[in-house]
């Protein structure tokens, strides 16, 4: 088991990619804190994992709120006594509009959750990781945190670009304390967040035609990359990017 005795916090863990990661981490031996604002789904996942013999807890966490982060860290300390792994996975897509038509409110909301949420997660997790002599942080950015997306939500892309560079700054800054920070850059993946974008068969076919491996990715494809970066198997990696995109960026 790759996470024996490790404690992991996964934001946005109630559904989609986060939930797949939570199940995978638990199976690999981790104690898992599932954090989300979706209390019903999060509570159900906590029950499911507990029923299967895993040690899991659901925590209500709006990643854009400092106060929520403080409470989550206290709850983890109380329940598990430590934190080894943080996956900053929570994120929103924003309005499906181009730059000119995005509202200022939407821009602020997307940046608050995706970029500030990741910032706050690192801000509150790093002191806890120091206490156990190190840790691993995995930030979920996006393919569009590296390259542009034609006509899509520029706020989303900006938030993912911010996540990408913050990752490197944190990596370099805390490397000597054995805290590793890496980012993952998924391309088009079937998740509840992208359901609206790929529901239309034509839009789906258009997306697929741009993917060398020929299909939209699945949450588990991303989860395995998260697993690798969160585990000690990647102990010499920090500030690195793993692109999970079916080959889109290679051409």
């Amino acid at each position: 088991m790759r996470f024996k005795d490790k404690v992991a916090l996964i934001t946005g863990g109630a559904r989609g990619m986060g939930a797949v990661e939570a199940r995978m981490f638990a199976k690999e031996g981790a104690k898992v804190a599932i954090a989300d604002i979706l209390d019903k789904e999060g509570g159900a996942l906590e029950k499911e994992l507990s029923k299967n013999g895993h040690d899991a807890v659901y925590l209500h966490l709006d990643v854009a709120k400092s106060q929520d982060w403080r409470k989550a860290m206290e709850a983890i300390e109380k329940r598990f006594g430590r934190l080894n792994i943080l996956v900053n996975n929570a994120g929103i897509r924003g309005e499906l509009k181009d730059l000119v038509n995005i509202t200022e409110e939407d821009y602020d909301r997307v940046l608050a959750i995706n970029a500030k949420g990741t910032f706050l997660g690192m801000k509150y997790a790093i002191p806890a990781m120091r206490q156990v002599g190190g840790g691993a942080i995995v930030n979920i950015s996006s393919l569009v945190g590296i390259i542009g997306s034609r006509g899509r939500n520029a706020a989303y892309d900006a938030s993912k670009g911010a996540t990408r560079v913050m990752t490197k700054t944190a990596a370099i800054t805390y490397a000597k304390e054995n805290i590793r920070v890496n980012s993952i850059h998924p391309g088009p993946i079937d998740t509840p967040m992208t359901e609206e974008s790929y529901r239309d068969p034509e839009a789906r076919a258009r997306s697929q035609s741009r993917i060398p491996l020929g299909s939209i990715g699945q949450s588990e494809d991303v989860a395995y990359a998260v697993l690798f970066l969160a585990s000690d198997e990647s102990s010499y990696m920090t500030g690195a990017e793993i692109v999970v995109d079916g080959g889109m960026m290679a051409y």
Binding site: L213, D221, E233, Y236, G239, I242, D245, G246, A250
Partner: protein, 250 residues
């Protein structure tokens, strides 16, 4: 086991990173072909894996030799029936020619590192097509992306060639379900650079430049290679995996 039922050919598999790959692959259930010019070391790795219940075979393989590649792939198919994974790991640093920029040195370094990678890829693709797909992992370097005073400029060129070649193979062969990715190790402590690491002050200079503050271990690269070889990365192709202690992030 993550490579259960898979057959892997690893060039430069007799020592260093290639040896770590071979041992880890075998532990994860792969049948392993160790290709190298270092016969004595290669036989030792072969014996060690087989003693531990693995299934490995050593083959003499000079990666610059076309006939050697044909023989290696044929022998792999004969012994194990198929080929699923190729690790183009063999390479030379050329530090003994530091300061020398000549056609001879270019041909030697680029001929071994970049041409060896091309010949291996060319030899493996038909077998992988027959197997319904495969995974090729090319070992480049952090110096395939940035320059460094520690590396020969021609070595950097050879590793940059591998980086871009990887993406082209990924794009060309995605339809065959053959994935192709590159790994970019930073400074790794291997037998090949042992003498250099004994030079006074060398380790301190390296450590000052690596955010994690140390050389990496061959096993730390091997786990990245394992990830790219296994089906856990089935939707990943054409990417660069930096295993460099944070070198490229700064």
């Amino acid at each position: 086991m993550r490579l259960e039922g898979k057959v892997a050919l690893i060039s430069g598999g007799a020592r260093g990173i290639g040896e770590a790959d071979a041992r880890l692959f075998a532990k994860e259930g792969a049948k392993v072909v160790i290709g190298d010019v270092l016969e004595k070391e290669g036989r030792q790795v072969e014996a060690a894996i087989n003693e531990q219940g693995g299934d490995a075979v050593f083959l003499k393989l000079d990666v610059t030799n076309e006939a050697d590649w044909s023989r290696a792939v044929d022998a792999t198919l004969q012994r194990f029936g198929k080929l699923n994974v190729l690790v183009n790991n063999a390479g030379i640093s050329g530090v003994q020619w530091m300061g020398e920029m000549s056609v001879e040195v270019w041909n030697k370094i680029v001929g071994t590192n970049a041409m060896g990678c091309m010949l291996g890829t060319r030899a493996a693709i038909p077998a992988m097509r027959k197997a319904g797909g495969g995974s090729i992992i090319n070992i480049s370097s952090q110096m395939g992306i940035v320059g460094s005073e520690f590396g020969h400029p021609i070595y950097t060129a050879s590793k940059g060639a591998i980086r871009a070649f990887t993406k082209a193979i990924a794009v060309h062969h995605a339809k065959d379900k053959i994935r192709c990715n590159s790994v970019h190790p930073g400074p790794i402590a291997t037998p090949g650079n042992e003498a250099r690491r004994r030079t006074p002050g060398f380790n301190e200079r390296i450590q000052a430049q690596v955010p994690l503050g140390r050389h990496g271990r061959p096993e730390e690269v091997a786990y990245g290679v394992l990830y790219l070889a296994s089906d856990e990365s089935k939707w990943i192709t054409g990417i660069e995996l930096a295993i460099d202690g944070g070198w490229l992030a700064q």
